[in-house]
């Protein structure tokens, strides 16, 4: 879809934060020099077009005592869709990508406890494909933001 300059400026701000004030869209409008109604209608349109998935909290599961890991799996091409469907059924699986590699299915599991994570891993390993568990040992960067130019 086509984004005009104001859409891009709005997305750049919204990727960082929605102001936590009584009238957040009015506040954004002030910064952009447009009305509150204009901000709301633009956000609604961006949401309908699927550019914005949602506006809300990005929760850090580690701060809530949760654990996560990255899993790589080697799945024959004809079994990818069926296997992905099984894996994706877990609400704890938040991201899953097909990648060009011998290990082709890559997904992230974020669970409320280590026990739950191990339980999911054990179930997934029963699918019988070669699986590698790659928990993070150190985080250098997490920044899901792109400058819209």
């Amino acid at each position: 879809m086509r984004l005009d300059t104001l859409d891009k400026s709005l997305l750049n701000i919204l990727q960082d934060e929605l102001p936590l004030v009584s009238q957040p869209f009015e506040e954004l409008g002030k910064r952009l020099g447009i009305s509150e109604e204009d901000v709301i209608s633009r956000v609604k349109r961006l949401l309908e077009e699927g550019v914005i998935r949602r506006i809300g909290p990005i929760i850090d599961i580690k701060k809530l005592g949760g654990v996560s890991t990255l899993v790589a799996m080697s799945v024959p091409s004809e079994r990818i869709n069926g296997t992905a469907a099984i894996i994706n059924e877990y609400p704890e699986v938040t991201h899953n990508y097909l990648r060009s590699h011998r290990y082709n299915v890559w997904f992230v599991i974020s669970a409320r406890s280590k026990e739950r994570l191990e339980e999911i891993l054990a179930e997934i390993k029963k699918l019988g494909y070669e699986t590698i568990d790659l928990p993070a040992t150190k985080m250098f960067k997490i920044r899901v933001k792109f400058d819209m130019k």
Binding site: L11, L14, Q15, D16, E17, L18, L20, S22, P24, F25, E36, I40, E49, G50, V51, I52, R53, R54, I55, G56, P57, I58, I59, D60, I61, K63, L64, L70, A72, A84, I87, N88, P91, V93, T94, H95, N96, Y97, L98, R99, S100, H101, W106, F107, R112, E130, I132, L134, P135, A136, T137, K138, M139, F140, K141, I142, R143, V144, K145, F146
Partner: protein, 153 residues
């Protein structure tokens, strides 16, 4: 975090209403004051439980169509230094050290984003030059099989 914080996270995690006073609406549903909602959310953000309160964007829809997971085999004693160099690249959104395993010798993972595959390859080459680590692979994403925000239950 108390019960009301949990309720608030659950109530907002799928997205807030797009109306002039979204927090007043949420407050009404939870039976608290609007100001309490914003105060609690700010506190959750300041303590890091909320990593960010904002928009999640579908990058593919705005032309950022290529992403590669780049994996680097970095000697353990150089991991901190190399991780910091990789993280300093604007095109890198995530960078982690991960546990090496017998089947997988790469220990530093970085997500590189670009407008196309070629752009991603050029970025990875620049990272190799900057770090001196030429032992790497790029795993391009062919298809998004699932992407949802983390939810609490």
């Amino acid at each position: 975090m108390d019960d009301m914080d949990v309720k608030l996270l659950k109530f907002t995690q799928d997205g807030i209403p797009l109306i002039p006073r979204p927090f007043a609406e949420i407050a009404k549903s939870l039976g608290i004051l609007e100001e309490e909602v914003t105060t609690r959310l700010k506190k959750l953000r300041d303590t890091g439980i909320i990593h960010r309160f904002g928009a999640s964007i579908a990058h593919r829809k705005v032309g950022i169509v290529a992403n590669a997971m780049c994996v680097w085999a970095v000697p353990s004693k150089r991991v901190d230094e190399v991780g910091r160099i990789i993280a300093s690249f604007d095109e890198v959104t995530h960078c982690y050290e991960r546990l090496r395993s017998g089947k997988w010798r790469y220990n530093v993972f970085a997500m590189v984003h670009g407008h196309d595959k070629e752009e991603c390859k050029v970025i990875a080459e620049r990272i190799a030059e900057a770090t001196g680590i030429y032992d790497y692979e790029m795993l391009f994403s062919e298809r998004e099989l699932k992407k949802v925000g983390l939810r609490i239950e």
